[in-house]
Amino acid sequence: MIQEKELNTELLNLIKRGDENAFRIVFNSYFPRLLAFSAEYVNDREVAKNLVQESFLKLWENRESLKADSDLKAFLFQVLRNKSLNYLKAVKVKQKYEEHLKYRYNELVLNYEALNQLDFDVLSFNELKGIIENTIEELPPQCKRVFELSRYEMLKNKEIADKLGISVKAVEGQMSKALKQLRKRLKEHFPSDLFAILLTII
């Protein structure tokens, strides 16, 4: 297999020359993950779809001025992050505060803050992804299985429980275990102040 880095460079060069085929490869490769990423914060899949579209449009329109060493994936995630932040900010202003639905407002604030910490201009996107992938590989089998069912197949806890013949409580436990392990690994790899921004220790 071609290394991801070489692939990135090849595609980047083609896109800079206006090659739509290469652009489409990038679109097909990253659209799903970008959509899932943005939807996690904006809590509205339709809005997220538009934000992802706008991000790709920005890549296409600025293709000629892309730097030769740009990382397409990091570029897209960063653009999408900024667009999602702007959206959350705008909605926050408009959101009417209703006592019985106060979580809506709270979530806007919390998700805005969370996303704001995730600055791909500062953090190395690839490094971050790499550590996450490796950590998942190292998880105990059952824990990994639960985590992957949730992550790739987007099954709800109940569905995972049924599928594996374990209790919902056990699924929740395995998910927590996986995420805590991830957190631990990330702290080991980014002991600097830089990462403290992302993962404050309790």
Partner: protein, 326 residues
Amino acid sequence: MDQEKIIQYALGNISDVEEKNEISQYLMENKEAREFYKSIKNMWSLTKGGDEGDGLAVEYKRLSKQMGRPRYSLFRHVMKYAAVLVFAVAISYSLLHYLSRTETQPMNEVICPAGQIAEVVLSDGTHVWLNAESRIRYSAAFNGENRNVELSGEAFFDVVKDAENPFLVKVNEMQVKVTGTSFNISAYPENDFSETILVEGKIELLNQQGKRILELKPGEMASYDLTEKKIYLSKVDTRFYSSWKEGKISFHNERLEPIIAKLERWYNVKFVFKDEEIKDYRFTGTVLKNKPLFQVLEIIKLSSPIKFEVIQKSEDKNEIILMKEN
């Protein structure tokens, strides 16, 4: 509040409104818990699997509408001359053919060689675009009343309307009857099927004896299976089937084998599959005919574990070996 609960909340597993209000309020007021929530949220957003939205093809279509048309000015120019050239060659060939025929019914034949697209205007004003390695035959007496043609290969027809004198396309074991409309037919002799796709208007499929089999509506495709003698009707995106006449081949989640067959005709080369399994790899995309072949191959290589070896042949077509990359 325990971490488990915060994790479940961050993952969106809590649906009770009361509980959501309570947890979110707790997070707003408690700095440590809040930081924990944010780190879980961020990790989850980065690890979570993908969401294809309404499907990648649909999403891309939406995007490409905003992208503005790519610039093909040079290409259009080249294509125009290429078509004229083929037309000229085709005419002289058909004349030659015509002169050498001994049948009582003299026939004209327009042949479009591999690697070319030809545009033909028939005497009734009907436009026919011939794809690579395709030919149409029609009586020398073709006129406003006798509008019969025979097709082998692939063609896009834009038929001039005339309700009284239907236009008939004879294609392997069937006939397509139209009064005025545009449609695409693909019936290459090496395939054991033919496909008729209607873009607009109305067409009827007739059997060899001229008996009506079925009627097609716009956006429908009739695939005729020559071995089973069966017709399959399906809804299709007509653009994928007629894009070739604009110098592109579009495909959506299509197997590599038929894609390669198209590339062979377009670029006049021969492909050899060294590994059977790569025939089943699926691709989505558009190939522009004006792009050099190596660039198209490069894209395939970049997007899948396939590599190529080119064998230059001075006498015959160049051969390209496709194999799996280990």
